[in-house]
C-alpha cells in the first residue's frame, strides 16, 4: 500500500435488497475476481483510483445482507471517511428509511463523513416509485451529493465513488478534514508524505475556530 497517497475507508449502506453489493461488485470487479481464492478477500473490496493527480486506495466495506443484524452492521461504521447511501428507485420503503441510515452514519462513523446518495436500479425506470426531484430535494436538505446509478449497466457507478473521493480530498486540502486525527477514516499511504505534512499537523493541535 506504499504506492498511493491516501487510503480512504468507504461504506456502502442502505436497506436490504437495494443492490449495494452489486454496486460494489461493479466498481471493483477485476480486483474481486483475482482475490476470490481465499475467503472473499481479506478486505471485502478495494481499488486504487486516481483523483485530481493523487493516487487513492478506496477500501470499501459492504454489509451484504447483514442489515438486519443490527449490532453486526454497527461495527462497520467505525472510522469511515465516506459512504454511499443507497436506495432503490423502485421501492419507496427503501427511500423512507434513508433518514435512519443517515443518522446511523453520522452518529456512528463521524459527523463529518462525506455521503453520496445513490438512487440505484436506474435501469428500471418504468417501475420507478421515487422521483429524481424528490430525492434531490432530500439530498439538498441533508447536504448530500446525489446521483442515480445502475449497477446493472454500470451507469454512474464509477462516478459515485470518484465524486465522493474527490470531495474528501477537497476537504483535506481546505483543512476541513484532518487525516492526522484518529477515526477520520483517512490514512496516508506513505511515510514520506506524513513528514511533508508535519507542519499542518502541528497546526491542527492548536484550537481551531469552531464553525457552529
Amino acid at each position: 500500500m506504499m504506492d498511493q497517497d491516501f487510503l480512504f475507508k468507504f461504506l456502502v449502506i442502505g436497506s436490504a435488497g437495494t443492490g449495494k453489493s452489486c454496486l460494489l461488485h461493479q466498481f471493483i470487479e477485476n480486483k474481486f475476481k483475482q482475490d476470490s481464492n481465499h475467503t472473499i478477500g481479506v478486505e471485502f473490496g478495494s481499488r486504487v483510483v486516481n483523483v485530481g493527480g493523487k493516487t487513492v486506495k478506496l477500501q470499501i466495506w459492504d454489509t451484504a445482507g447483514q442489515e438486519r443484524f443490527r449490532s453486526v452492521t454497527r461495527s462497520y461504521y467505525r472510522g469511515a471517511a465516506g459512504a454511499l447511501l443507497v436506495y432503490d428507485i423502485t421501492s419507496r420503503e427503501t427511500y423512507n428509511s434513508l433518514a435512519a441510515w443517515l443518522t446511523d452514519a453520522r452518529t456512528l462513523a463521524s459527523p463529518n463523513i462525506v455521503v453520496i446518495l445513490c438512487g440505484n436500479k436506474k435501469d428500471l425506470d418504468p417501475e420507478r416509485e421515487v422521483t429524481f426531484l424528490e430525492a434531490s430535494r432530500f439530498a439538498q436538505e441533508n447536504e448530500l451529493m446525489f446521483l442515480e446509478t445502475s449497477a446493472l449497466t454500470g451507469e454512474n457507478v464509477e462516478e459515485a465513488f470518484l465524486k465522493c473521493a474527490r470531495t474528501i480530498l477537497n476537504k483535506i486540502d481546505s483543512g476541513e478534514l484532518d487525516p492526522e486525527r484518529m477515526g477520520s477514516g483517512i490514512q496516508y499511504g506513505d511515510a514520506s508524505l506524513r513528514q511533508l505534512r508535519q507542519p499542518r499537523s502541528a497546526q491542527a493541535v492548536a484550537p481551531q475556530p469552531c464553525g457552529c
Binding site: S36, F69, R70, S71, A99, T103, T107, C212
Partner: protein, 461 residues
C-alpha cells in the same frame, strides 16, 4: 437454580442463551439460506427472520438490563456481569451469541455512558477489549475466522458473517464458466461448500449445555420485548444526560443533528413478533412461575412473590393493578393479563421513556429541562403522552426527568378545575380510571389510558 436474572451465574446465563439460540438455529434449513442468498435479504423466510430477531433481541436486552439500573455503579455491575457472560460464551465456543452480547455492550447507548464505565474495574475492561477485538469487523473478521478455524467440538459461528460471505460469493462469481453453461464454476462451488459445511456442522453437534425449562420460558418473554433503537438511546440520555460544556465527540464543530432527521427515525430493527406466539410465551412463563412459587398448589401466589419475578423485567412500566379482584393473591389469569398489558409488544412502552409528540398550547408552558418558556403558537414544543412533561424540541435529548405514568395519582388530582379550551373533548373520560375494564382487549385499553392521562395532565397546565 434461581429464576432471577440478577442472581444467575454468568455460566448459567450463557448456557441458557446458547440453548435458546441453538434451538432457533437448528430450525434453519438449506432452502432458507438459498432463498436469502438469491434475494439478498429475507423474503418470506420466517425461520431465518426469527433467528435474526432473536439475535437482535439479545443485544437489546443486554442494553435494557444495563439501562434499567438508576445509578452508575449499579449499571457498571450489570456491564461486568455481561462481560463475564460473554467470556463464558467464548468458552462454550458460541460466537453468535457472543457477537450479540458484545454488540449490545458496545452499542452507542451504552458506550456513551462515561460515568458508568468509570466504575468498571480495569480487569473487566481488559477482558472486554479482548472480546471485542475477537469479533471486530476489521480485516473482514479475520480474528474471528482464525479463532473459529482453530475450534474443536461444538461451535456456533456468527451467522451474520457467514451469510454475508454467501451473498458476496453469489454476487462475485458466476455459476457457470461459459455462456453455454457446460462448465460449472468449480472455485465457487468449493467455496460455497466450505461455508455451508461450517453451518451444517453446527446442527450435527449438540451444545454441551443443559437448560432449565422454567428459566428458558422467563428468558423468552424477556427477549420478546420490543424497543426501537431511538427509545434505547433516549433512555441512555436520561440516565446520563449530555453535558453542554464537554461534547462527547471530538468533532464538536459540526452543527447538532437537525430535528427532522431524528423525528423521521422509523427504523424497525426487528420485525414485531407474531402476537399469538407472544401470548403463548407469556402463558408458558406464567406456568413456570407458578410451578416454582406456588408451593401449596392452590393456583395463587402472593404479591411479594410476584415482585421477586418482576425484578426480571425492570423496564416494564408499573401499569395499573396487578391484583384485579383485590383479594391479596395473584392468579394465573391476573398475571397473564398483567404482562399482556404492560408489555411493549402490544403497544405499551418502557416504563421510563417519554413518548413525545409535538404539542400546541395556547398558554405559555415552561420547558422542564432549561426552565425557559416554550414560545410560539403552533407545534412549538414537545409533550410526553404518558406523563405530560413538556420541553423544547432541542432540549429533548438532555431532559433527565424519567417518565412516570400518572395512573396512581390521577384520582387524587383529577378534580382540580382549570379547564383549558383545547382539550375539552378528552376530559369527558378523564375522571374515572380504567381499572375495571378487564373485558376489553388489552391494546385498546392501553390506547385509552394514554389519551386519558394526556387529558388529565392538561388540566394542570
Amino acid at each position: 437454580m434461581s429464576l432471577l436474572f440478577d442472581h444467575l451465574e454468568p455460566l448459567e446465563l450463557a448456557e441458557h442463551l446458547t440453548y435458546l439460540e441453538y434451538r432457533s438455529f437448528s430450525k434453519i434449513l438449506f432452502q432458507d439460506y438459498h432463498s436469502f442468498v438469491t434475494h439478498g435479504c429475507t423474503v418470506d423466510n420466517p425461520v431465518l427472520e426469527r433467528f435474526i430477531s432473536l439475535f437482535n433481541s439479545v443485544s437489546q436486552w443486554v442494553q435494557l438490563m444495563i439501562l434499567s439500573k438508576p445509578t452508575a455503579p449499579q449499571r457498571a455491575l450489570v456491564i461486568t456481569h455481561f462481560v463475564h457472560v460473554a467470556e463464558k460464551l467464548l468458552q462454550l465456543q458460541n460466537f453468535n451469541t457472543l457477537m450479540a452480547v458484545v454488540g449490545g455492550l458496545s452499542h452507542s447507548s451504552i458506550s456513551r455512558l462515561k460515568e458508568t464505565h468509570s466504575h468498571v474495574s480495569p480487569e473487566t475492561v481488559k477482558l472486554w477489549e479482548h472480546l471485542t477485538e475477537l469479533v471486530t469487523a476489521t480485516g473482514n473478521y479475520s480474528n474471528y475466522r482464525r479463532r473459529l478455524a482453530a475450534c474443536v467440538g461444538f461451535r456456533f459461528p456468527i451467522l451474520g458473517v457467514h451469510l454475508k460471505d454467501l451473498v458476496a460469493l453469489q454476487l462475485a462469481l458466476p455459476d457457470w464458466l461459459d455462456p453455454a453453461r457446460t462448465r460449472l464454476n468449480g472455485a465457487k462451488m468449493k467455496q460455497l461448500f466450505s461455508i455451508l459445511e461450517e453451518l451444517a456442522m453446527v446442527t450435527s453437534l449438540r451444545p454441551p449445555v443443559q437448560a432449565n425449562p422454567d428459566l428458558l420460558s422467563l428468558l423468552t418473554v424477556s427477549l420478546d420485548q420490543y424497543q426501537t433503537e431511538d427509545e434505547l438511546y433516549q433512555l441512555s440520555l436520561q440516565r446520563e444526560p449530555r453535558s453542554k460544556s464537554s461534547p462527547t465527540s471530538p468533532t464538536s464543530c459540526t452543527p447538532p443533528p437537525r430535528a427532522p432527521v431524528l423525528e423521521e427515525w422509523t427504523s424497525a430493527a426487528k420485525p414485531k413478533l407474531d402476537q399469538a406466539l407472544f401470548v403463548e410465551h407469556i402463558e408458558k412463563m406464567v406456568e413456570s412461575v407458578f410451578r416454582n412459587f406456588d408451593v401449596d398448589g392452590d393456583g395463587h401466589i402472593s404479591q411479594e412473590e410476584f415482585q421477586i419475578i418482576r425484578g426480571n423485567f425492570p423496564y416494564l412500566s408499573a401499569f395499573g393493578d396487578l391484583d384485579q379482584n383485590q383479594d391479596g393473591c395473584i392468579s394465573r389469569e391476573e398475571m397473564v393479563s398483567y404482562f399482556l398489558r404492560s408489555s411493549s409488544m402490544l403497544g405499551g412502552r418502557m416504563g421510563f421513556v417519554h413518548n413525545f409528540h409535538e404539542s400546541n398550547s395556547l398558554r405559555p408552558v415552561a420547558c422542564r429541562h432549561c426552565k425557559a418558556l416554550i414560545l410560539g403558537i403552533y407545534k412549538q414544543g414537545l409533550k410526553c403522552r404518558a406523563c405530560g412533561v413538556t420541553c423544547h424540541k432541542q432540549c429533548k435529548d438532555r431532559l433527565s426527568v424519567e417518565c412516570r405514568r400518572r395512573a396512581q395519582s390521577m384520582s387524587l388530582e383529577g378534580s382540580v378545575p382549570s379547564p383549558s379550551p383545547t382539550h375539552t373533548h378528552h376530559r369527558a373520560f378523564s375522571f374515572s380510571l380504567p381499572r375495571r375494564r378487564s373485558s376489553r382487549p388489552p391494546e385498546i385499553r392501553e390506547e385509552e389510558v394514554q389519551t386519558l392521562e394526556d387529558g388529565v395532565f392538561d388540566i394542570h397546565l
